[in-house]
Structure formats: structure tokens, C-alpha cells
């Protein structure tokens, strides 16, 4: 599987590089915020990618509960982990942006708060997987994943309403975007999505390989045990 992997890595690096060029050079400087605004091209695509990954996690969890196969469970773990990674990027770039623009590190605006909650939900999912004993981790985690994703519209609605009652500075800004900015944003989203797919691919292979190894070791131990019993 070496050649496709190398090709994939090269493609991803190219896309990311092109995205960087678009974000830093091609896109026009924003009027009020200046060059700091360029972090927007990393903040927003990371958020979209994280949401997409969590959606795939939702589907994989449902698929696992229906079919109970290793592949869908491995996919669920993979997308949750990579999703939390991208979500973390959003939560770090947000304050990095807010500080120079608003003078404060954190603002409980609708988007940042919703993203924080999303992050909390999926980190709790990962902790459940880590702390779960016994063989049915996958089932329990899949159930939690479904709860978590069903909760997302509630999180979004409740916090949005909460924040329109108490207006806060909004990161990301409303209003229209210059076409060149749209291009930079979309290119970066493409690049980030490709990067996410590559990470997921690698993590998924690792997960499947690990499980195969565990099963083989367990089988060996079983055979070893039965052999010594017979003697």
C-alpha cells in the first residue's frame, strides 16, 4: 500500500500549500481587522471539516449498531478522534483571532460556545471508549455517539438564542465576502478535507491492524492454553 499512500501525501501537501498561498497572498486584506483576519481561512474550514467528520461518526455508529462489524466501529473511532483534532484547531484559532481584534482571549459568542460544547461531547465519547471495560465498548460508544449527534441541533439553537438575547462580539463576521476571499476559503476547505481524509485513512488502517493483532494474540493464547491443558 506504499505507492498510493505516497501519492496521497503529496496531493495533500500540494493542496495545503496552495491553500496557504491563497490565504496569505491572494486573498485581499480585510478592511477593519487587517491581516489578522487571515486566520479565518483556517478557523472556518477546520470547523466545517470537524462537523463533517462528526456526521460520518454518527452514520458509522448507526451502521455499527445495525451490522456489528469491525469496519464501521473502527471508522467511528477514527472520525471521532480526527474530528476532535480539527475541533481543537477551531478552539485555538478562535482565541488567537479574538485577542488582537477584540482584546479578549475568549468570547462566549454563539459559534465558539457551540464548538466548545461539540468538543466536550466528543471528548466525552473518547473518554468513554478509553475507560470502558469488557468487550462491548463499541456498542456503548455507538449509543453515546448517537446521543451526541442528536444533541447538536439543540446545542446550536439554544446557544444561538441565548446569545441573541445577550449580544457578544461575533467571530467570523456577518455580511458578504469578497469573491477572492470566497475562493481562498473554499480552496482551504478542500485542502483541509483532503488532509482529514488522509489522517482518517492512516488512523483507520492503524485501528484495523491493532484489532487484528489483538485477535491473533488472543487466539494464540487460547490455543496455548488448550494445548497445555491436554498435556
Amino acid at each position: 500500500m506504499k505507492a498510493p499512500l505516497i501519492i496521497a501525501v503529496v496531493v495533500v501537501i500540494t493542496l495545503l500549500g496552495f491553500g496557504l498561498y491563497q490565504a496569505l497572498v491572494v486573498a485581499p486584506t480585510e478592511q477593519t481587522m487587517g491581516d489578522v483576519q487571515r486566520i479565518f481561512y483556517y478557523h472556518v474550514p477546520s470547523a466545517w471539516t470537524a462537523f463533517l467528520l462528526f456526521f460520518v461518526n454518527f452514520l458509522a455508529s448507526i451502521w455499527y449498531l445495525v451490522g456489528r462489524d469491525n469496519a464501521s466501529d473502527a471508522l467511528a473511532v477514527t472520525t471521532a478522534e480526527v474530528g476532535v483534532l480539527f475541533c481543537t484547531v477551531v478552539l485555538i484559532t478562535g482565541p488567537l483571532w479574538a485577542r488582537p481584534v477584540w482584546g479578549i482571549w475568549w468570547t462566549w459568542d454563539a459559534r465558539l460556545t457551540s464548538t466548545l460544547l461539540l468538543w466536550l461531547i466528543y471528548v466525552s465519547y473518547l473518554i468513554l471508549r478509553r475507560f470502558s471495560t469488557g468487550g462491548q465498548t463499541a456498542v456503548l460508544a455507538a449509543a453515546l455517539a448517537i446521543f451526541g449527534f442528536v444533541d447538536v441541533p439543540f446545542v446550536y439553537l439554544s446557544i444561538r438564542y441565548f446569545r441573541t438575547q445577550h449580544p457578544q462580539p461575533v467571530i467570523g463576521g456577518g455580511g458578504s465576502l469578497h469573491p477572492a476571499m470566497w475562493h481562498a476559503l473554499l480552496y482551504n476547505w478542500l485542502a483541509f478535507s483532503a488532509f482529514a481524509v488522509l489522517l482518517c485513512w492512516l488512523r483507520y488502517r492503524l485501528e484495523r491492524a491493532q484489532r487484528d493483532m489483538e485477535e491473533t494474540l488472543a487466539l494464540e493464547a487460547l490455543l496455548e492454553g488448550s494445548r497445555s491443558n491436554v498435556r
Partner: protein, 234 residues
């Protein structure tokens, strides 16, 4: 290995549900474990809060909503942690799994039991809160029981489900709040904001009450759909 999940029965029959519920209530009435620890814990939370947030007049009305629900949330977790412990101790859970009784009956019985316990807690604690914080309700007081019922159900239905999930984890008692709190935050926000609006007598709590009602509906459905799967996971 388990096969594909069979369809769970969503509509429970009253007999098994009532039997399980009365069993739990009777056990609780005799030992008063959960109620006593819940009430005392909530009281402690109130006292500690009174050091952190000085309760003077107008301020107290604003923060009372939040404080009251945080106290109830923590106390409810105490009760929820004990929900399944009793069943595990005497292998009742295994017996239930093997029996033909539908899993949702057990679930609803547990949820109703917890709901009653937390309601008793709220009925006991609310006058204390009013006394400690000199509260007066400026808005539509009749809405407060509605908010209490919807909010308590939201906490208890998810809490009972996640308590079943955290049965098979290390640090079981910590795992429950860890997975319950993030998912409950929209409901918590709803309870707190609705209570605050009613206490302050400003604007309308309608959005939050509707949100709570929809939250309850959606998550009760999800719980009923998935409980049998989780119960049988072994």
C-alpha cells in the same frame, strides 16, 4: 458475538413497569438512602454557593435560576449513580436480561423512580432556597412547576440511560457526570434561563419551555430506542 439488533418494543405494558417501580419505591422508602444523601448534598451545595455568590436582593434573583438548577443537577447525579448499583449487587440485572420482560419497562420504571426522588428533593429544597436567598417571583409563578417537570425529566431520562452505560466502565461514578453534562447543556441552559426569566418577570420564557419540551420528547425517544441494545451489551 451478537447478531443484528432486534427491534425494541417502544410501548411498554403497565404491569411490569408498575411492579419494578413499586419495588424501587418500597426499597427506597425502607432505606431512604438516595433521598437522604441527595437532600444533604443539595443543602451543602446551597451553603457553599452562598459563600461564593453573596445573596443580596436583586442579584440573587438573577443568579437564583442557575444556582438552584446546578444544586439539583449535582444532587440528581448522586441519585442516578445509585440507580443501577442495587441491581448489579444481587444479579437482578442479569435476571432481567434473561427474562422475557421488555427492557423499556425496566428503563421507564427506573426513570420514573428517579423522577420522583428528584421531585421530592426539589419540593424540599425550594423553600430553603427561597429563605436563604430572600427570593420573590416577579413573573408568572405558575410556569415554575412546568419548568421543573420538564427540566427534571430531561436530566433524569438521559441520566438513567447514561448510568446504564457507565456500569461497565472504570471510575463509574465519575463517568456518569462526564458523559451526562455535555449532552445536557442545552436542557440546562433552558432550565436556567426559563427560571431566571420567570423570577425576573421580564420577557417571555416560551422559547426555553418549548425547547425543553422538544428536548424531552426527542431524547426520551432515543433512550427508548437504544436501551435494549445497551442493556444486552455484555
Amino acid at each position: 458475538m451478537n447478531g443484528p439488533v432486534t427491534s425494541a418494543k417502544l410501548t411498554p405494558s403497565p404491569k411490569v413497569l408498575l411492579a419494578t417501580l413499586t419495588k424501587d419505591l418500597r426499597l427506597e422508602w425502607r432505606s431512604k438512602d438516595a433521598i437522604n444523601s441527595m437532600i444533604f448534598f443539595a443543602l451543602l451545595v446551597v451553603v457553599v454557593f452562598s459563600f461564593s455568590f453573596d445573596p443580596t436582593g436583586d442579584e440573587s434573583r438573577q443568579i437564583a435560576g442557575g444556582l438552584i438548577w446546578v444544586a439539583f443537577l449535582f444532587a440528581a447525579v448522586v441519585a442516578l449513580n445509585q440507580t443501577w448499583a442495587r441491581e448489579i449487587r444481587n444479579q437482578v440485572l442479569d435476571a432481567y436480561r434473561v427474562s422475557p420482560a421488555p427492557a423499556n419497562d425496566l428503563f421507564l420504571a427506573k426513570v420514573l423512580g428517579n423522577f420522583l426522588f428528584v421531585t421530592v428533593l426539589e419540593v424540599v429544597m425550594t423553600p430553603l432556597f427561597v429563605v436563604f436567598y430572600n427570593l420573590r417571583v416577579l413573573g408568572a409563578a405558575y410556569l415554575l412547576p412546568v419548568i421543573a417537570v420538564l427540566g427534571t425529566w430531561a436530566l433524569v431520562v438521559n441520566g438513567t440511560f447514561f448510568a446504564a452505560i457507565s456500569l461497565r466502565t472504570r471510575s463509574r461514578e465519575v463517568m456518569l457526570p462526564l458523559i451526562l453534562f455535555p449532552i445536557s447543556i442545552p436542557a440546562l441552559l433552558g432550565m436556567v434561563e426559563a427560571t431566571k426569566i420567570v423570577m425576573m418577570g421580564e420577557s417571555s420564557a416560551k422559547f426555553w419551555i418549548v425547547l425543553l419540551a422538544v428536548y424531552d420528547l426527542v431524547f426520551t425517544t432515543v433512550c427508548l430506542t437504544l436501551f435494549e441494545t445497551v442493556l444486552n451489551a455484555e
